[in-house]
C-alpha cells in the first residue's frame, strides 16, 4: 500500500498551487514520493496518476527518463560521487574506490543495513571544489580519504 504522509500532503498542496496545468506537478510529486519512500513504487505511480489525471503508464514513462527517481529503494544516505572531468582531473576515481571499499560495497550498491547507497554521478556543479560528492542534500568538496572517513563516520 502506498499513501502520502502528512508532510508530503502539505507539500503537494503547495505544489498544485504553482501551475495553471496539473501535469506540471508531475516531477514535483515524483520528487515528494522519492523523498518520502526512497524509491518510486508502481503503487505510488498509480496514486500520482490519480491525483494528476494521467495514466500510471504515463507516470512511468516520465519517471524513467530522470535519474533521480529510483525504482529500487536507496539507502538512508544516498552518496552521489562526481566522476566528471574536473573531479577526474583531481583524482576522484581513487577516492570513489576508497569509499566503496570503506562501505564494503560496489559502486551502484546499497549496504545491507540500507544505510548507504553509493552511486557514480555526472557533474554536480561544484567543480571548483573538486573532488566532491553529495550526500542527500549536502555537498562535500575538496575530498581526501581522511575527509571521507570523517564525513561518513559522522553520519548516524
Amino acid at each position: 500500500m502506498f499513501a502520502f504522509n502528512e508532510a508530503s500532503e502539505k507539500e503537494i498542496e503547495k505544489i498544485l498551487g504553482k501551475y495553471p496545468d496539473r501535469q506540471s506537478a508531475l516531477l514535483p510529486l515524483l520528487t515528494v514520493t522519492q523523498r518520502q519512500e526512497r524509491h518510486i513504487s508502481p503503487e505510488a505511480m498509480v496514486e500520482i496518476g490519480r491525483r494528476l489525471d494521467v495514466s500510471p503508464a504515463y507516470v512511468q514513462s516520465v519517471a524513467s527518463f530522470y535519474t533521480m527517481y529510483h525504482a529500487e529503494k536507496v539507502g538512508r544516505y544516498l552518496i552521489l560521487f562526481c566522476i566528471n572531468i574536473s573531479c577526474q582531473l583531481n583524482g576522484c576515481d581513487d577516492l570513489l574506490a576508497y569509499t566503496a571499499k570503506k562501505l564494503g560495497i560496489e559502486v551502484g550498491q546499497t549496504t545491507p543495513d540500507e544505510k548507504f547507497t553509493l552511486l557514480r554521478e555526472e557533474c554536480l556543479a561544484a567543480c571548483t571544489g573538486a573532488p566532491m560528492m553529495r550526500i542527500n542534500d549536502t555537498f562535500y568538496e575538496f575530498l581526501t580519504p581522511a575527509k571521507i572517513d570523517e564525513i561518513i563516520d559522522s553520519l548516524e
Partner: protein, 419 residues
C-alpha cells in the same frame, strides 16, 4: 577589478532581504516602473548583454522577439547548471538569491510577464529551499505579488525542481520537463518567444544573465557597455577548475587574457606543472592548446582560437593529462545524457565511447583515429539538438591538437601485438 555580480558576494547575510536592501538591492525598481516596459528592453539591448547560459544570444533582442499581444507570457529562469565544469550559477543562488529575484522582476516588467518559474536541477534542492525563503521575504515586502510597489504590476515567481537530466538545460527540453513530460528537445521553430511554456510566449534566460539586469537598469546601460570589447560587453563569471592552485568562480571583464585568469586569479598550475590545454567554456566546447593561453577571454577571441566561451567554465589541464582519457570521460557523459530521440547522437555517442575505450585498452584495430573522425563527421550538424555537436567537440579538438596522445596508446597496442 570591476565586480558587478560578485560585488558583495561574501558579505555576511547577503541572502537575506534586509542586508541585500542595505547594499542597494531593489533600489532601482521604483524608477524602472516609471518607464514604459519597452524602454527597459531598449536599455538591455543597448547594454550589449548576451546570454550567459552557453549560446551567447543578445538578451534584449530575445526579449523583443516575444509574440505581440499574446498573453499570458512566461519567464523561465534556467537554473539547471549541468554543463560539466560550470558552477557559477550555484554560487549566485547560494549567496545572492535576491539578485536573481530583482532581475526577474525587471525582466517580467519589461516583457509584460506575470508568472515566472525558476527551473533548478534536481540536485539543487538546497538552493531551491534558500530561494523559497528569499521569495517569501520579497512577497512580504511587496516586491512580488499584486500591484508591486503600487505600480499596478503583478508578478508571481515559483521554484521548480528537475530530476537529473543534463538535456533539461536545453531550453525546449526544459519547457517539456516543466510541463511534466520527458525532457526531450522540441522542434524549433516555433521558438519559445512565440510558443514556449503551455504554448505561450516565453522568455528563457540563464541565472547569470538575469542577475546582470539590475545593474544595467539601475546604473544605466552605458556603464555596462563601457566594459569589455566591441562584441563582448560587461563582465562574466568564470568557473576555473582542474589543475589550478586556486580553483574558484571569478568575475572578469570580458576581454581579459586567459593567461591572467589562469595564472593571476587562479594562482597558476598546481605544483608549478606545465599547462597543456584548457577548455574555455564548459565540456561542450573544443579544447585549446597551451600555446593560445594569451587569447582574450571573450566571445570573439575564443572563437578565433577555434573554441567558444560557452557557459564560462574554464577547465585547466596540465602536462600529466593524456587527452584521450579526458575525452573518454566526456564522451561517456554525453552517451549517458543523450536523450535518445535522434539516431546520430544516440548511436554516435555510443560508438565514440566504444572506440575510445578500445584505444585505451590497447585494442584499436584498423585506424581508430580515422573511424573517430568519420563518426564525428556523421554527427556534425546532423543531430536534432546541440548536444550531438557538443559530444564531438572534445574528440575533434583533441585529435587535432593532441594526436600524439592517441598515438601513445596506439603504439603501446602495436608493441603489445608484436610482442
Amino acid at each position: 577589478m570591476t565586480q558587478i555580480l560578485f560585488k558583495n558576494i561574501n558579505l555576511e547575510g547577503l541572502a537575506t532581504l534586509p542586508v541585500y536592501e542595505k547594499h542597494g538591492g531593489y533600489r532601482g525598481l521604483k524608477d524602472a516602473f516609471k518607464k514604459e516596459p519597452e524602454e527597459l528592453v531598449e536599455m538591455v539591448k543597448a547594454s550589449g548583454l548576451r546570454g550567459r547560459g552557453g549560446a551567447g544570444f543578445p538578451t534584449g533582442l530575445k526579449w523583443s522577439f516575444l509574440a505581440k499581444d499574446v498573453f499570458p507570457r512566461y519567464l523561465c529562469c534556467n537554473a539547471d547548471e549541468s554543463e560539466p565544469g560550470t558552477c557559477k550559477d550555484r554560487e549566485l543562488l547560494l549567496k545572492n538569491p535576491h539578485l536573481l529575484i530583482e532581475g526577474m522582476i525587471l525582466c517580467s516588467y519589461a516583457c509584460r510577464i506575470q508568472t515566472g518559474y525558476i527551473y533548478f536541477r534536481g540536485e539543487f534542492y538546497d538552493l531551491a529551499q534558500i530561494m523559497e525563503k528569499a521569495l517569501g521575504e520579497a512577497y512580504e515586502k511587496g516586491y512580488l505579488g499584486k500591484n508591486i510597489l503600487g505600480a499596478g504590476f503583478d508578478l508571481d515567481i515559483y521554484t521548480h525542481l528537475g530530476a537529473g537530466a543534463y538535456i533539461c538545460g536545453e531550453e525546449s527540453a526544459l519547457l517539456n520537463s516543466l510541463e511534466g513530460r520527458r525532457g526531450e528537445p522540441r522542434m524549433k521553430p516555433p521558438f519559445p518567444a512565440v510558443e514556449g511554456l503551455y504554448a505561450k510566449p516565453t522568455v528563457i534566460n540563464n541565472v547569470e544573465t538575469l542577475c546582470a539586469v539590475p545593474y544595467i537598469i539601475t546604473e544605466g546601460p552605458e556603464k555596462y557597455a563601457a566594459l569589455g570589447t566591441e562584441k563582448s560587453k560587461g563582465t562574466k563569471l568564470v568557473s576555473v577548475s582542474g589543475h589550478v592552485k586556486n580553483p574558484g568562480n571569478y568575475e572578469v571583464v570580458l576581454g581579459t587574457p586567459t593567461r591572467e585568469i589562469i595564472y593571476g586569479l587562479a594562482g597558476g598550475i598546481r605544483d608549478d606543472n606545465e599547462l597543456k590545454a584548457f577548455i574555455p567554456g564548459g565540456s561542450s566546447v573544443p579544447m585549446v592548446p597551451a600555446s593560445l593561453v594569451d587569447t582574450p577571454y571573450d566571445y570573439e577571441g575564443l572563437q578565433a582560437a577555434g573554441s567558444m566561451l560557452g557557459s564560462g567554465a574554464l577547465i585547466v589541464l596540465d602536462h600529466t593529462v593524456n587527452v584521450v582519457e579526458a575525452t573518454h570521460r566526456l564522451v561517456s557523459f554525453y552517451m549517458h545524457e543523450s536523450c535518445g530521440k535522434c539516431t546520430p547522437c544516440r548511436e554516435g555517442t555510443r560508438w565514440l565511447w566504444q572506440i575510445l575505450s578500445r584505444i585505451m585498452k590497447g585494442q584499436g584495430e584498423g585506424d581508430p583515429i580515422d573511424k573517430l573522425n568519420d563518426i564525428c563527421d556523421n554527427m556534425s550538424f546532423k543531430c536534432f539538438c546541440p548536444l550531438g555537436d557538443a559530444a564531438i567537440a572534445p574528440v575533434v579538438s583533441g585529435i587535432k591538437h593532441f594526436r600524439a596522445d592517441y598515438e601513445e596508446f596506439l603504439q603501446k597496442a602495436a608493441a603489445g601485438a608484436a610482442g
